[in-house]
């Protein structure tokens, strides 16, 4: 933790990418990025190269989440360093290409910032996803965005976890930011969801412009939800689910779940209750894409992160 007289200096954020279509059926990002590829005026900021990019064009064309494998899990060290070849799954080939254009991941040549645009069937509102609790640049950006859209809220999900963290397309950049907006069905474009993602991105780019102009951002704190545990549906011996998210929990992302609260409801109406040790804050409740990943929801715990002052070098 830095004192108020210590300022962390970062290089100018000169190269910024906006990814859409990492999942081909998450329509807000696909639509926004296609719009900006045609006319980038809205995302233009002084001194910044903002590159809109469709990461999974084949999945977008078929309006499906992925073709062979989930692109947003494909950026592992193993995949990125594997010898390239046509026999690799499409998304692994794509990950290698993206790593070449926007990375290499972990190197000084990598893009400064990547925004990755997603939708969810969960009632998560406009969620910002943070991968590292030590990324003061990102923390300051998220603090700025939250202030800008108040009184509307922008929960921050921290995915820093030894087991649950996954290798995202945005992780190629020095400062990866996920935007997860819902609820929206896959394959559907809702105007309100589309416009709220657009507004959040506008504020994010404004922050970058201000930072690049030399503005110093004083120390701040950011309330976040840190991922804790993955909860699967109850299943039978064949792997079929035998219960649904309980009506009391459905759509209650970010609200407290206490021990004893209803969690699942079997098809014949029996209630199954949460039996954890303490209060948790569930999210990604009933996300369509997570049935196959054995996840009904994920629990989180509230935490306050401190970000030191930052300024351009």
């Amino acid at each position: 933790m830095t004192s108020s007289t210590n300022v962390s200096c970062f290089h100018e954020a000169r190269r910024v990418a906006i990814f859409g279509g990492t999942h081909g059926n998450e329509m807000s990002g696909v639509t926004l990025v296609n719009l900006w590829i045609q006319n980038g005026k809205e995302i233009h900021r002084k001194g910044v190269e903002t590159k809109p990019f469709i990461t999974n064009p084949r999945a977008v064309e078929k309006c499906t989440r992925y073709v062979d494998t989930d692109l947003n899990r494909a950026f592992t060290t193993e995949n990125l360093s594997a010898p390239s070849g046509d026999d690799l799954p499409y998304e692994v080939q794509r990950a290698q290409q993206i790593n070449e254009i926007f990375g290499p991941k972990g190197s000084p040549e990598a893009y400064d910032v990547i925004f990755d645009l997603h939708n969810t069937t969960s009632n998560m509102g406009c969620t910002l996803i943070l991968e590292s609790s030590k990324d003061h640049f990102n923390l300051q950006m998220m603090h700025y965005i939250k202030k800008a859209i108040a009184p509307d809220s922008c929960p921050v999900l921290l995915t820093e976890h030894p087991l649950l963290k996954y290798s995202t397309s945005r992780s190629v950049a020095k400062h990866p930011i996920g935007l997860e907006v819902g609820p929206q069905p896959q394959g559907v474009l809702r105007s309100n969801i589309f416009e709220s993602m657009r507004v959040v991105l506008k504020h994010a780019l404004d922050f970058i412009e201000l930072f690049n102009e030399g503005l110093e951002f004083p120390p701040c704190t950011v309330d976040v939800f840190r991922v804790s545990e993955k909860m699967d549906y109850p299943r039978d011996t064949n792997g079929n689910i035998i219960a649904m998210v309980h009506p009391n929990l459905q759509d209650c992302d970010w609200e407290p779940l206490n021990p004893g609260d209803p969690m699942f409801q079997t098809f014949d109406g029996t209630t199954l209750r949460y039996e954890g040790a303490g209060t948790v804050y569930p999210t990604f409740i009933n996300e369509a894409a997570y049935y196959e990943k054995q996840q009904a929801f994920v629990t989180t715990r509230r935490e306050t992160l401190a970000a030191g002052a930052i300024k351009k070098t």
Partner: protein
């Protein structure tokens, strides 16, 4: 006065339903519409429903397995007379073959051996509550079933497609009487407990058989597509926030329909005040449909009496 006399005549017409009716309940006609898939699996434990014999079917098992609407073509458009009688070759899509199999199992369509009642379970991403969809305004059995459905958790409506049987393309047309149940809003690939329970509640029907008026009947008039880019065919607007989720409300000339990505509003320019439904259904983007428009009407149906031998 003429109309009133006609109405009185209809009110005293007796229609009968044979006691040992064969009923088929179908789920998974679209493999990612989850309420029907899970309800059928649950009901497969039961064999008899009242005095009727219940056959339960997962209509498109391959699509269910992949959790997709369909594998080659939309199964629920394959039940026209023409497609059901088309010759099968190596190139025949999976769903066409399956439709012909289902015709053998539940039909043959239009014959004496067909199921008495075929009920097909669906979900929609549109905010349609519980909607019954059928082809005929004269099928008193279906209209009575509609009247019997007493649910407190969602609005219940009846949608009429008004097509001759030969052109009827959906699975429910295989039975002597047939209808689809559409429950929404639910994202495809997701099972929501509240939506599942609405569909389940449907089957705890009442027992009123008097004739009378049937309200909340909507007849399909036409479809409206999204505004599209003439070169790429990509949509250039989303359903306007004032129309989104407002299925069955009134759409007046001048009301907003679409909000362009550029910010302009596209307004409804029809002459007649109509009711939109299937507003922003995911599966209809590829069918060039943003929503359907319907006229609302009230029907009169006669009392229903079960003939006992």
């Amino acid at each position: 006065r003429e109309r009133e006399r006609e109405r009185e005549k209809l009110l005293y017409l007796i229609v009968s339903l044979p006691p040992q009716s064969r009923v088929a309940l179908c789920g998974g006609t679209h493999g990612n519409e989850m309420s029907g898939v899970y309800l059928v699996r649950e009901l497969q434990k039961l064999e008899k429903v009242g005095s009727a014999t219940l056959t339960t079917v997962i209509s498109n098992p391959r699509a269910v397995q992949m959790c997709k609407r369909y594998t080659d073509v939309d199964l629920n458009r394959c039940f026209t007379d023409a497609i059901l009688s088309s010759p099968v070759t190596d190139a025949t899509p999976y769903e066409v073959r399956r439709a012909q199999e289902l015709n053998t199992l539940l039909g043959p369509k239009g014959s004496a051996g067909a199921m008495d009642l075929v009920c097909d379970l669906h979900n929609t991403t549109a905010n349609m509550g519980l909607s019954l969809i059928s082809y005929s305004a004269q099928d008193w059995v279906i209209l009575h079933i509609y009247r019997q459905i007493q649910i407190t958790s969602a609005p219940v409506r009846f949608i009429l497609l008004d097509l001759p049987l030969a052109d009827a393309y959906s699975q429910d047309s295989l039975g002597k009487h047939g209808f689809s149940i559409e429950v929404g809003p639910q994202p495809h690939g997701v099972v929501r407990a509240d939506i599942f329970n609405i569909m389940k509640e449907c089957f705890n029907s009442g027992s009123a058989f008097e004739g009378g008026e049937v309200d909340d009947v909507y007849t399909f008039v036409k479809s409206i597509d999204y505004p599209r880019d003439p070169e790429t065919n990509q949509i250039t607007a989303a359903i306007h926030p004032q129309l989104q989720d407002r299925d069955f409300c009134l759409l007046h000339p001048g009301d907003p329909m679409f909000l362009m990505f550029s910010g302009e509003i596209v307004k409804y320019e029809g002459v007649e005040v109509l009711h939109p439904y299937f507003v922003n259904e995911c599966a209809y983007y590829e069918k060039s449909i943003a929503f359907h428009l319907a006229r609302k009407m009230t029907l009169t149906i006669p009392p229903l009496r079960v003939k006992r031998d």
